[in-house]
Amino acid sequence: GFSQVGDEGDWRPAFSRDMQAEAKKEGIDLKFADAQGKEEAQLTAVRSFIAQKVDAIIIAPVVVTGWDQVLREAKRANIPVFLADRDVDVTDKSLYVTRISADFNLEGKLAGAWLAQASKGNCNIVELQGTTGAAPAIERKKGFEAIISNFPNMKIIKTQSGDFTTDGGKKVMEAFIKSTDNLKGVCASFAHNDNMQLGAIQAMKEAGLKPGKDVLMVSVDYVPAMKTELAKGEANASVELRSAIGKYIYPVVLNYLKDKKPLPKWVVIPSDLHTAATPGN
């Protein structure tokens, strides 16, 4: 069983598709459940996996908390649990085998580090946040802020939630443009995902600004549309959040089912930062 968060943005559907495709390749009978971003739906799904007596459960948690009980139920039913992508906050770490994922916090840090370098530590930043309260939004913000706090001349001067959507990013950027008198003094736009950044790029172009030149554009995900923008020079950097991670996850799960060897609690999947100069663009 694999319990996915939902379908927001461009990245997650790609992740889901990859998980399903890879399962087929590996000959795994995958029960897939999409929680539509709802915690309760995800708990229901995991319990139905238990009722169906699956061999292993992979969870991409909607939220970090609230897992003790259902993981205990899984343990009682002798079904090993693996985490993909986000972490969970449980008192008893033995309730799951391991977490195999990227690190949101690190993504924020990578973006921050790139920007610090590109702006030489002098930068007024506008930030497009993800959905208020969503884990990647919180973690990316934290990672980003951890880096720029080292530079006294780097400041986030405006921040708003664009809900991880193109439309939201565009609206928020339009408002920023107006409230800062055409982004006067703004040197960079940091978006928690590419979709919002794409919206922001459109808003800037419509206001007669040149994204990528007037303002540095850095975001997270590295979706195909962003590759094009990077190539055009309308965006400057995007941190890759790999969606094709089935090939990292399944071997770990299958090996564990075979030999039940305990694993470290976090198997990190690498993240990379891409710019226009990155090979492949």
Binding site: L30, K38, E39, V63, T65, G66, G133
Partner: protein
Amino acid sequence: MKRTWLPLAATIAVFVALFGVGGALYNHFLSSLVLGDILDDNAFLIIAAIGANFVILSGGIDLSIGSMIGFVGVVMAKLDAFGWHPLASAAVMIVFGAGFGACQGLIIDFCEIQPFIVTLAGLFLLRGACFMVTLDSLPLRHPFVSDFAAVALPLPGGGFLASSALAMFAALAVAVVIAHKTSFGANVYAMGGDRTSAALMGVPIRATTVKVYALGGLYSAFGGVIYALYTSSGYPLAGSGAELSAIAAVVLGGTLLTGGIGLVVGALFGGMILGLIATLINFNGSLNGAWIMISSGVLLFVFIVMQRALVGSLTPRSAS
């Protein structure tokens, strides 16, 4: 009290039929484990739906349910971090829920603003309040939470009814008594049937409106408590959209949205139907997000049409 049981009977029949279909399609489906899971997983929703049922029976609507669930959760988690006992914070939140509902009721009646809109503002307000309390999801660490979760009534066939389901049944029993054995209950039905007439018949409209929204708030706060204990956490986005699920549960349970007609127990079966739909989809296990949305809609449609067909209100209309 003799009321129209027909729609409810139809709902139950359709539930049983689809449960059977699920059993025919999937292994391990036809078990008391699945049934118990449906009751547990949806207990919070059913509790909220019971409150919504009163509101709808009175001719109103309450959209603040989902936000209330989220808000109760984050506040309980926050208080947990300060070392409160969950029962104490639950009591506080239930009182808060009733009070918040009462305020909504007062605004609706005193200012003569439509309930849809007042409670929509309530939805925004409470969700916004969630974000102001915390942006993170917070755990409930008090040992009581796991003790509470450990309570389970075994069912024949390996399944069990967990504490949340038991709490839900208790809440339902109280609700049935309120609806059918008190004059407040009678007033609610009267007000939903015809407001002006009810007023002329001496139903205290303002008091009943305030009470019914207070009851709705109380039940959704209680639903929030159960949700927080069930997930042992508070999360500011928790319960979003639960109001529509609750309303759907009420309607599937045979209550008319125009008010005055329906049974309180309907919420139980309506909620179970929504749970059954989710379980069917999970057991299928090959649906992506798109198909899940589509099949939820289709199953909802199938339920409604089957229920209507059974009730016989799908009268054949001669093609003239």
